[in-house]
Amino acid sequence: MFKLSKLFYSFKHSSRSNIQHNLSSFKKKRRQELLYNIGLYGAAFGCAFGAVPFYRLWCEHFGLEGDLDKKDYSMKGKKLDVFRKYHIEFGAETDPEANWEFLPVQQNVTVHAGETALVFYRAYNRNDKAVVGFATYQIFPEDAGLYFAKIQCFCFNQQLLNPKEELQLPIYFYFEPEINEDPLLKKCENIKVMYRFYKAKNQELAQLAENEYKTVKKNKMILQKLRDAKKTGAVSEGDLNKIKSTKFTDKEIEDFDEWAYDNPLEAAEAQKEEESKN
């Protein structure tokens, strides 16, 4: 009797709804698992991203310093030996090709380790054309070169000097305080820094500068023509366009005195003054 009732019971409940219920619960479980998985991976990813500011805060809290974005030159934590001075000589060499004058303004300087100092070099371009140059340096003795830290200088970069232009080139540097503890440099008091200025092989920058200069001159000449044309009277669009598209020879561009017609207001005032005098 019992078995029969069992059979009857199972027959009743093994209907379609039972199967669907099982299926839906299966789906629910799998969906839960999927969400857990996504959450786990997302958390791991987020931790990887969040570790960066977290590390920074951690270091700040415990006072551990590292090489962060902005470097600090104030030598806060270090003990500086202010009385051990180094006598630093500056030298300069130029490429004979370049025809520059390149000399240090301060031939020697007295600093101590850890002190940030500013030094100038003076460069003068004797050519009539713009020249692109490149500066590198050498330090004697070589062991001291390890501690020579530059905050900013004019080296390792192509520099363009316009024709007949004189410039002050600064170097902002310091010697790291660890130089005082180097056993090989115990007796070192004089350090020589030698800068060499080469003419860069690729003079593209100079070419660009010259082209810019030429276009500026051309535009000024065209402006001058337009002003002259408007003075005489009303000009039609066609004529204006013609003037705008005139072509000049290279010689005309060179001979043009760009400072003569630069400011029409000034020229007008000067004219008025002359008239009033007369």
Binding site: T110, V111, E115, L146, A149, I151, F156
Partner: protein
């Protein structure tokens, strides 16, 4: 030795290269700095004021990244006045020790005289 020479060669500047001052905007400050340094026996520490002027001129005209002066190592802790103060302090200390030593020497000579 060879290891060291590899390290020493060509480290670029921290803040990159200085842009050139083609329009001579900061030339006056540079001149003043140079004159000051000539006066003070080529010690840049004593011309800190003009150094700061020059760097600020550069920052204002867009020729240098703006930064706190104390971060650039130009604060009051590293100025010439503090160095002179330290010198004075050490000098005073030495003098005191000297006077103490002289007194003790005198005492001992008196004692030895008395004994004799």
């Amino acid at each position: 030795m060879s290891n060291r020479s590899k390290q020493s060669s060509s480290k670029g500047p921290d803040k990159g290269a200085f842009p050139l001052d083609h329009f001579h905007e900061c030339d006056n400050e540079a001149k003043q700095y140079n004159q000051c340094i000539q006066k003070h026996e080529n010690m840049p520490k004593r011309c800190r004021k003009y150094q700061v002027d020059y760097l600020q001129c550069r920052m204002n005209n867009g020729l240098m990244e703006k930064e706190d002066l104390s971060k650039l190592g130009l604060g009051p802790e590293t100025s010439w006045e503090t160095e002179e103060q330290e010198k004075q302090f050490l000098f005073d200390k030495i003098n005191r020790m000297k006077t103490k030593a002289m007194e003790e020497v005198q005492k001992k000579t008196e004692q030895s005289k008395q004994q004799v």
